[in-house]
Symmetry: C2
Subunit: 648 residues, 2 copies
């Protein structure tokens, strides 16, 4: 089965071109320490390495091609792998010999850095192989190899390069020899899930059962023996592999109980959604009902109790973690870009198990809001943390908020997010549809031309629209196969109605699990027109979310909107949106590469008072409010921003 | 000049008896590790010592009377000194031979632990005297000696015990020999201000100028050479004296610039107000106008931009610090009990320089709200941190709020607050009046019988009232002196009017700097009656305080009120107080040892919705609200609490 989705969407083509023409070259320069930029710490913590990336240099040293020692995090290698993965998707979309040359150099370098037995990790190759696999809480060895395997599979699938796949298999084989239930093997797992995702991808491309088995081992072993990390640490005398991280609560590592018993999302948010992605992939791959139930429980907990309206997750900087149900503070949260991306990964795998529009709804929410906000419009500045409310003075002067940056830095001490965004955007074509032999589901309304080759023949689907701004799409489905093909059209949560016509005739429809199913007969072309009722929406949070009570968030289509002080004046907390104000949507081509803005009537507390506390109530002045889509904030200099606005 | 204020107030007598009969014996048991209680860490930080107090044992070891090593913080000694100071005030109020015996034992023990040259600090006496005075950023040596000197002066003044004063003078002499501008002396100061307060008290009792000079040296040297702490740390190889604390920003130690240039309150809140207390004492003592200006600037910044409505200060747990103007978050703040107490100290010294009612207003605010909330009604449970909003689940499960405890622990790993409260309450008589040769000012309306002996004769003042609950007071002033005596009556900020009568006749009055001045002729008795218009007040914060915008705080007299879920149901965030609701005050003798409660009408968001985000706005149900005084919260089990309530 070889599928091809060519994205033609104007909105996404700009981003995908940006990845190809700006992000990938820029990130390459950073990884090689020639970008000439200042690396910022992601928060006030002097232990965060921020002198340079050194990521490529680490490989050269490990490969014996340069002198020196390792610099950076234990997971510095993964920056290179995620870059390589982004390159793979980019080449898949459009071959570029220059870029391919760089990728092949990297692959050669990785192959040279790989140990003869397949082990691959520059940190221990440089600092002492005798300590490998001995402090997994913080070493990120399997995490890095997982990212390499993902990149390798992507690169192999995009270009057919066998060498990179061979390196990946050697890598996985080394892990297989060292980890497992058998005596003599390590009954443990990495402090940061990711290898499980890599191994499953390797299984999909190789169909070698041992990779599936190994992924399953890691996922089921986790949490069975919570002292594993501490026991390793007690006898470890090797180089500092984030030593001390094993003192974090077991929940940080999702290590507090066996995964099958976990019912709430606990600990480091990225770790959780990476674990869930692998779990759901395993469930989809094996059809294991029990695994699906675990995934459903965790999905339900995250998306109905622990997710910000932007699709961001992670409520505290301490451990970059989930906290408790309905604890969603707008100005101290974490909402790491990588976590939103991980939630998109998770959603995609859930859709593979069972097509339910709610999975795609969340995917779309995280994609168009939190994830996309992770990068500036120039593709060269990145947020690690994506707040829903910012006051730049507080970010600077309140150490509690040092992680809440008001402007995207050029690069970050912990650089996980920028290359993660690159690979996400570059592989967006993989998220538009869920394709099975028995049905195809349209998850995202993204203009594109697609061809799916199934065993019965091929299906072409063409989406012609100006989403995410417009409210209608044409979808041409050409079933050139032996059998009727049901095509599911997602009824998105943000539509207040949907008119459907097929070949020019208005059509009634039923919605099942959030999808409208159209049965396209064999050897038939259907021309659909979908016209959504896209109203500006006022969203209210569950009153259990104490931080949002009395407030409203404005959205339209997949976008959540926000106020910035550049449009609305300083001290945004003084603003209230009138309950009865009409909200108007206007296309503005002049700002932020063209965005739809929303205007409404509000009032503003007068700030003439000097007293700190007084018995005089507030006085107000009428004001016009201007909202912009959240993803586009912080592109016009440093200023205040606010998603949840008081309503009166 | 020997003055005596005997407090007869029912409200305060209960607390002062509690100090004598419960707190002092209880704290004595804790300091001796025989209380049989569990010591809680004040936040999630495994480095906080919480096995035991060991404070008395440290002295025994240092004195050579027991074997073992030092346990606890570098400032563990100060717990004993603050206890001794509380005992001094308690004995001053009421002699108690049993208690005196314990105090004399402690004094003997301290004398034995003192080094022959006067140095006094069990940490270095036990762990290596060669390292003394060599890492002052975290060693707290001068801080501890400052507390001893305060205790010694208090004890000497209360009982005439010369021995304790001798130990204190030896101690101060040792410091004098080691610190100062002269060559060969250390041009430095302690990481935590306190010695300055102690030296000034020692000066007041001995009139020895060198103690004044030394206090002035410490206060003026600070911040001149911000690298002082780091330079000491670079060459230090002694025992761990909070090593690493010198990496905190210079502001943490008020070490960022010379004190005379400081215009905003920066860094650790307790340190700031202890420094200010000494500065103001020095200004009052020397009449130095420039010093007073510094004090005024810092006072102004704290009280008009950085103080919670409860009189709490310190906006973040990180460094227990001030942050920036108007940053007053209700549920993550610090508001340490000691900081509120320090603010009371500062206010008292400011009143000595110049009688302005605003100083007494703040003193009263901090006293009746934040400081008093620091202890349970039983006198045996204590808050370190005094939040204005608590959800117990968040305190437990959100690591960002691990310092925000919903119930007072029996004791704390860092036990600075409980004995500080004991000495504050036990010495409350020192805060009621400001007494000078030329005028006497009534700062607090606390029922009491007082006699002030001035050079011209004596003045007796008797306050007869049921404050803080009642709205009137009788004040009998008997001037048995050679000259007319002006007596200033504070016009409190919470009064909407005040009727005054003298000897039964209603009297017009003028207000000057917040005081009504009554000139009492020589050899005359005046019987005053003051009748305050004490309305329930709705307070609104300056709109720059983003956390309070759209909300209201309820107060009456000196008390700020709060909602608790035990009275108002869970999910307090769902509650709104109606703008037009009448608020009614009722005395309730049944709960919380008798309190005035406030009732009003509100509405409550219905919590029937399951969705995390929806387009359906909230629905409401009418509800009755019941407010209790803030100081009395968390005395009826674990529950939610909220000071700032949404108003609609």
């Amino acid at each position: 089965m070889k599928n091809k989705v060519k994205i033609t969407s104007q909105f996404w083509s700009r981003y995908r071109n940006l990845v190809r023409t700006e992000m990938i070259p820029y990130q390459w320069a950073v990884l090689n320490d020639v970008a000439g930029i200042k690396i910022e710490r992601e928060r006030n913590d002097s232990s965060i390495p921020n002198e340079k990336s050194h990521a490529i240099e680490n490989f050269k040293i490990a490969a014996g091609k340069a002198k020196g020692t390792h610099y950076g995090w234990t997971f510095q290698d993964s920056d290179v792998y995620k870059w390589l993965e982004a390159v793979a998707y980019s080449l898949r979309e459009k071959m570029d010999p220059e870029l391919e040359k760089k990728a092949l150099e990297v692959i050669d370098l990785v192959a040279e850095a790989q140990e003869p037995d397949g082990y691959l990790d520059t940190f221990y190759s440089i600092l002492g192989l005798e300590w490998r696999y001995k402090r997994l809480a913080g070493s990120h060895e399997l995490y890095c190899m997982g990212h390499f395997i993902e990149a390798a599979v992507a690169y192999y699938e995009a270009t057919g390069n066998e060498k990179v796949l061979t390196v990946a298999k050697k890598c996985a084989d080394n892990i297989y020899e060292n980890f497992g239930l058998e005596e003599g093997k390590i009954h443990g797992y990495d402090g940061h899930e990711e290898i499980e995702i890599g191994l499953l991808r390797l299984y999909h491309v190789t169909t070698n059962e041992k990779y599936l088995e190994l992924a399953k081992f890691f996922l089921t072993e986790r949490g069975k023996h919570p002292n594993f990390f501490k026991e390793q640490a007690a006898v470890y005398e090797g180089p500092n592999a984030l030593n001390g991280i094993e003192d974090m609560p077991d929940t940080y590592f999702q290590n507090h109980e066996p995964v099958k018993n976990q019912t709430t999302a606990e600990g480091h948010a990225v770790r959780v959604v990476y674990m869930c992605t692998a779990l759901a992939d395993l469930a989809a791959t094996t059809g294991d009902k029990e695994l699906y139930d675990i995934c459903k429980r965790l999905w339900e907990n995250i998306t109905s109790k622990r997710m910000f309206i932007t699709g961001g997750i992670g409520s505290t900087v301490i451990g970059e973690s989930f906290t408790l149900d309905y604890d969603l503070p707008n100005d101290t949260m974490y909402c790491e870009t990588c976590a939103a991306i991980g939630l998109i990964f998770f959603a995609r795998q859930m859709l593979r198990i069972k097509p339910k529009a709610e999975y795609a709804d969340v995917m779309e929410r995280a994609l168009y809001n939190c994830a996309l906000a992770g990068m500036a419009l120039d593709g060269k500045h990145f947020f690690y943390v994506n707040p829903l409310e910012v006051n730049p003075l507080k970010s600077k002067m309140d150490p509690t908020k040092s992680h809440v940056k008001p402007v995207r830095p050029s690069w970050l001490g912990c650089a996980c997010c920028p290359p993660n965004l690159a690979r996400m955007v570059a592989s967006l074509d993989d998220y538009v549809y869920t394709v099975g032999e028995d049905a195809i589901y349209v998850n995202l309304y993204v203009a594109s031309e697609s061809c799916f080759e199934l065993s019965s023949g091929s299906i072409n689907i063409e989406q012609d629209n100006e989403f995410p701004w417009d409210d209608k799409t044409k979808i041409k489905i050409n079933n050139i196969s032996l059998k009727n093909m049901p095509v599911g059209l997602r009824y998105p949560y943000w539509a207040d109605g949907l008119e459907l016509s097929i070949n020019g005739k208005t059509q009634d429809y039923e919605i099942k699990a959030g999808y409208i199913l159209i049965d396209v007969p064999a050897y038939t072309e259907f021309n659909l027109e979908l016209s959504f009722d896209v109203k500006i929406r006022r969203y209210y949070a569950n009153p259990a979310v104490s931080d949002d009570v009395g407030k409203v968030a404005v959205g339209r289509g997949p976008f959540i909107y926000c106020l910035e002080s550049v449009d609305n004046g300083e001290m945004l907390q003084c603003i209230e949106l009138l309950k009865d104000s009409k909200l108007e949507y206007k296309w503005n081509p002049e700002i932020l590469n063209g965005v739809g803005i929303i205007e409404g009537n509000g009032k503003r507390i007068n700030t003439t008072k000097d007293e700190l506390y007084s018995v005089t109530s507030y006085s107000y002045t009428d004001t016009k409010l201007k909202f912009i889509p959240y993803y586009a904030w912080a592109n016009r200099g440093e200023n205040e921003m606010m998603v949840w606005v008081r309503e009166s």
